[in-house]
Amino acid sequence: MLEGKTDVVEELTPNKSNTQWTKKDLLGIKDLSAEEIELVLDTAASLRQVSERSIKKVPTLRGRTVVNFFIEPSTRTRASFELAEKRLSADTLNFSGGSSSLVKGETLKDTAKTVEALQVDLIVIRHPSSGAPHRLSEYVKPGIINAGDGINEHPTQALLDMYTLREKKGRLKGLKVCFIGDILHSRVARSNIWGLTKMGAKVMVAGPKMLIPKEIEKMGVEVSYDVKKAVKDADAINLLRIQLERQNEPFFPSLREYARYYGLNSDVMKNAKEDALIMHPGPTNRGIELSSEVAESSGSVILEQVTNGLAVRMAVLYLLSMYKPENK
């Protein structure tokens, strides 16, 4: 309701949590509370129906400008963000690595200051260096959304993974989620570990020893080097892409050997629960981290993750637009 502040208070459902969004940026899941994660997921649930209508657009962010600043290649995350912005009626501006003046030698700070001078409201950034969005948020006024920074975090991916899990399993608390693959270079795994442990789920990671970060147990996860053991009892198995672009030296002998020992195929799946979900942030390397058979099995929710990603990104854009400095 718009009729004055008191009526807005009336509007709130008393038995649901009254969490308010108080952050200028979404830099990582590490900074979010369980209540804030829940707020994003609930908001995404309401926003998902916008994409199911015949007119797939609402005027919510009319007159706002969002910059998509992608210094690292990205197809799906960028497309998802851009569509989310358009569904909310925001104006969008795209900068990408190749076409940006960063290749002409401009620093990140100068580029960001230039973007800020164009009076934009939100900046979505993907950057190969961990911590780049955090630095940016110190330099400029617009809200920053981290769309993946180096090997640090990819918060919207973790949020859409949690959304998918919650929707499919009805809850997050007590679930057992297994991540297989390159944990060391995976910002998806890192964000998910922060999020899932906050939401009361159990996390197991598995992969070649070289690709499991040291002391990862301190993040509250279990480690296994045997995929068949790791998938046992898992409610969901989240596969991570082997990130060849982030490996300067080989971390395992060959892709064939990786596929043989750590790939998810129907043989490994015999050890898993029948209703275990198969998840993957994409793009998938078929035949390496998972077999075609498993990718297309009934437990696979890989395409639903893409659909949910749109709703989750709309929720993040919406919530950050609600931020006012005095809300803090």
């Binding site: 502040k5 509007e11 459902t13 609930d42 926003l47 916008v50 006012k324």
Partner: protein, 181 residues
Amino acid sequence: METEVIKKILDAEGMDRVITRISHEILEKSKGTENLVIVGIERGGAILAERFRKKISLIENVIIPKGSIDITLYRDDIGEVGTQPLMKGTHLEFDISGKKVVLVDDVLFTGRTVRSALDALVDFGRPQWVRLAVLLDRGHRELPIRADYVGKNIPTALEEEVVVHFEEKDAMDEVYVARKK
């Protein structure tokens, strides 16, 4: 925030009588229930719309399709209001095109909620017509909007607050005017 009750407007029986009267008026003006749908604005309006549906089905012995709309995404003050309302989502179990829509809200005040609701409605299709039913009209319009069916007109001062309680969410039906202490 402490508030003080200035004036009681309706109790449970009074509210029911108003709903009965408006239900008859809706039926009379719509000439029956063909293509008629009742759409409530979340949250108070949606509860009220359910009451109208029940009342009309008692009178005419037909089931009116159900609908509620959430105007959160259509507000003109995003980022300006201090509190963030929870989204309830829009639920229309029918195609709005060609329907006779009675839009329902509990309190008509500035008219901005109704403006948002109309924008939200037309994104779903082209209704034959839209009429507005409200339990209370408290004045102070900021837009050229009026209600076709009004439960009660209550003169209020801007700083006063019209409080509507429904059994469905507040355990009792009542309407009163209050003032912040």
